[in-house]
Symmetry: D2
Subunit: 316 residues, 4 copies
């Protein structure tokens, strides 16, 4: 039976939740580099896409876990993430990229996109104003856009991005956004990168027009870090925990009969659910650290060989 | 059986949750003024205090509900709230007051204290620098303190407030804070005012030293607006909704036998619960509007007769 | 002799500074409504445009002076400013308008554009999502864009605005920006409105591509409030003050011989001058109050008859 | 003739401006370490103190110049500054320190104090809550206070700091503030460290009660970076530049006769001068980078041997 309402932006979580396997049209491989775990899930055909509600494409997650507690792990994590981004964007420094920071900068849990952009070495304007920097340093032409959110602009975000990409014609677009996850422990400890574009707010029921190669006409890489879990997730997980804590036969039957199910929780919570979000109490610190991690990774991936020290002195 | 773990800062919610009545040592009266509902709960003795985990004192809640959609309701609500504050603080303009804005200004849902202070007409320094303003306008001497949070100062908030009150010796202290509520619908639609002081973070398990007449030696009025509900609340309420939606006999028995209870949910969630918070998705707008409401109410309550227009032109 | 370097964005100041009269191709009229002074300068032909370095068009300044100290003056000032905006934009509620907030929101003195936008009732998205609001209230379809600054986006601001206007095709664009003035006393006490478009940063030597009917293909109204004076202005004015204070014959001769002149000061300061700005010490409060004034004026001008109270409850 | 109105917080600039020499009661020595220039000026007696308007004490400036363009220079600069701070504070990790961030965090040019604090590893609360961190890492007990400014608190900053130091009894206080300089080229490129305490706003005519060993009873180290120059400075320097550019005999005479002098400029500008400030146009970026530099220097100086990498992973 198909359950259409799981609220997560992570392809790997959907696959797990729906108990889908390679036979359903997936490639799924986990690797570990210097202690940092990565997982690549590919949705290979339209049948797999239907089963997940996500477009055909490659979805890579990297668990950066303890990178905030140890600068050496941080360094490794940024290199692993940078490699994955390079694999998706390509390595040609002559191809210029537009970075788009989605989300509401006034809302702590939604600010990862705009905050990450503030740590990126933006160079597009220097081509004319300071051309020598391109010969001195292995820089790529990067520009940045913070389109804001529908509630304050009145304009579909996808329309703003489409308009600007048509105007400045970058080789590719990278879209950075805060995501929703099924698991509290993934909040601000996992990054997902994908070549399938993004539907802003898709994980939480606010359907917006998608940003993808189809709509923009150029490759769209989406990068996101979960900052919230949704309320249905929290409630259902608590119920599962109750079940396993009490070992009650009566409870187990209710679950087996699907009287109690994730879908039922979603139905009962209804609209109120999509109006509430669940975040860690220290989300301000986590978003700030996650944005720094993402900015360093992107600088390493998009510009040529720069050390963390060089990056630090080139950002504003 | 006593359940010690309800996470709310609202005295009225604790009383309801524990099904306590007047006989248990409470005064409880609801009134309505110009469509704005108020409720005064008094915890009359130490037995009632034990049963609620809140000190003896008066707890007034005002439901300002739709005040953000209609400026006339806003005006009425600020007057009702101002009257309640006057009842607690007194009407003597010669008594100076220190306002303290608790909470983390970088975390949207915790910023009500600091943000409210930025809308208050602060006058203490004008006594020396601009004395004529006191003869022209019916102003009270007000000062303001934003002590920050333990994680960034390393100092107990109560120690900072105690130090400053001992130094400047105000007649009373008003402490403004973001609260936790049991009910999502009360978030940013209710204000609680009390003369019993406050234990910062008490509603959510972060026990801090209290700010009260006992510890500061002067009257302490606490004012708060719920901005979060906790995760146990959300999970348990969802379970209740499931019960009533499915009318399952098996489920009802589990509740009657207290296999499933609010306490069980708290136990199962454990520490992770107090590390997560639930807020409305548009909490940035709600906190901004709630802070404006509270600031206008406080200006009306603490200074002499000022119109909203006069208040607007006197704040920074 | 022509002096090309006066740093002001106010057409009336350029006209005065260059001692130009009606015969040079200007219309110039001062009026007073309810104590609020307005002045309309029209640059009538290309000769007058050359003499001022400003395009042919209408430039209206309103001195709102003490509006921050008295809410009644504030109310009058917003009405006068709203009337002037209506005269430039037109009164047809069916014509949708895009508002653009120029400037760097992280730099206090440059934040008037973005901060004003946060006080505007944005409605474009409600047409689809909440259509009944248009029948209930006399609202115009408004959208808002905060394009950021070249240094952080790498994209010419005019390119972003051109792209978005071409995409969403509003009837007109209103561009809001912080300006430079010749006179310290005009900082945050005058607003200039014009139908001639704007060259971002033109008053201070950072030539950017213009935003105008010519470049965007639709009417462009620019609205600005001076927040800075430039360093050459400050230095030269101080020199003039020295001259008149000392009544020194030697000094007077140096001025008459143009050994000491505004141009000489600009030359001596050179590039360093355009890298420094002069602002009032309390610019944070002034920008916040000016943005509120402008937002109320714009809401009154662009939407139908709304009271200040209705505006307050409709903004976020 | 004595000129009392030079507006700078830098002791070395006052000494130069007044043409004072060692014989007037000064020690003055310039050194260079790894390309970073330092200068130590000691005001040795009350006569020298009278001549400078600064208390007896040691004033060390370090020119960090190009540290923002090259992370290796940044690293060296933080080490040199850290050494100077250690010389003033002492090297005993058992002595706890309270850091105070003066200034208005809402005003870009005044935010260095509060912004620096956000980059410091604050540990005082961990003693109780996480004691093992002290045995694992060579940390000192640090706390932080952001007292705000008189205009928003109504309380003298020195009263708040005195109250808190009396309460928590640190071994020493370090006060961090934005300063005024005589020279535009020193803005955000020099840091001054002193053991003589600080009078907030002293460089610009807003006399506040001092923070010093005399008033607080414990050693007070003040650390500041110039972010503004004052308007009189700017005007007079422009005049000097005019003189040298034109080689006019008439002009030279006016200067020799002190018809034109820094004091005359101050007199002519009068109060308006102290109400205006001059800053670089990119002060937002400069303050952000300066605060990071200062935070790293302080972490290195106050905690035991920590690398920049360790510091980065320990700050919030």
């Amino acid at each position: 039976m198909f359950n259409d309402s799981i609220r997560t932006d992570l392809a790997s979580e959907i696959k797990e939740f729906r108990k889908l396997t390679e036979k359903d049209g997936f490639y799924d491989k986990t690797t570990e580099i210097n202690g940092i775990k990565s997982r690549e899930v590919r949705i290979l055909n339209s049948s797999a896409a239907d089963k997940t509600g996500k477009p055909v494409g490659t979805y890579i997650t990297v668990d950066f876990g303890t990178a905030f507690e140890d600068e050496a792990v941080f360094e490794t994590a940024t290199e692993v993430i940078a490699d994955k981004i390079k694999a998706l964007v390509g390595n040609n420094l002559n191809e210029d990229v537009l970075l788009v920071g989605l989300g509401n900068s006034k809302l702590t849990s939604d600010a990862i996109g705009p905050e990450t952009l503030s740590g990126i070495i933006i160079t597009r304007h220097l081509k004319t104003h300071l051309p020598e920097i391109y010969t001195e340093l292995p820089l790529r032409e990067l520009s940045a856009l913070t389109p804001g959110v529908l509630g304050t602009t009145g304009i579909e975000t996808s329309d703003i991005v489409k308009a600007v990409t048509d105007k400045i014609e970058p080789s590719a677009v990278i879209v950075i956004d805060a995501l929703a996850s099924r698991r509290a422990e993934r909040v601000c400890s996992t990054v997902q990168m994908s070549d399938s574009g993004i539907s802003p707010g898709s994980g939480v029921g606010n359907h917006r027009k998608e940003l993808s190669k189809k709509t923009l006409g150029i490759p769209v890489i989406s990068i996101g870090i979960p900052t919230v879990i949704d309320t249905a997730t929290l409630a259902y997980d608590t119920f599962e925990a109750l079940c396993s804590a009490f070992q009650s036969k009566a409870l187990k039957e209710l679950v087996d009969e699907e009287v109690i199910s994730y879908k039922a929780v979603c139905d009962v919570l209804g609209e109120s659910s999509s109006n509430m979000i669940v975040t860690p109490r220290d989300i301000d610190v986590l978003v700030s650290k996650s944005s720094r991690l993402l900015a360093f990774s992107l600088n390493k991936a998009l510009h040529g060989d720069l050390t963390s020290e060089e990056i630090q002195s080139l950002i504003n």
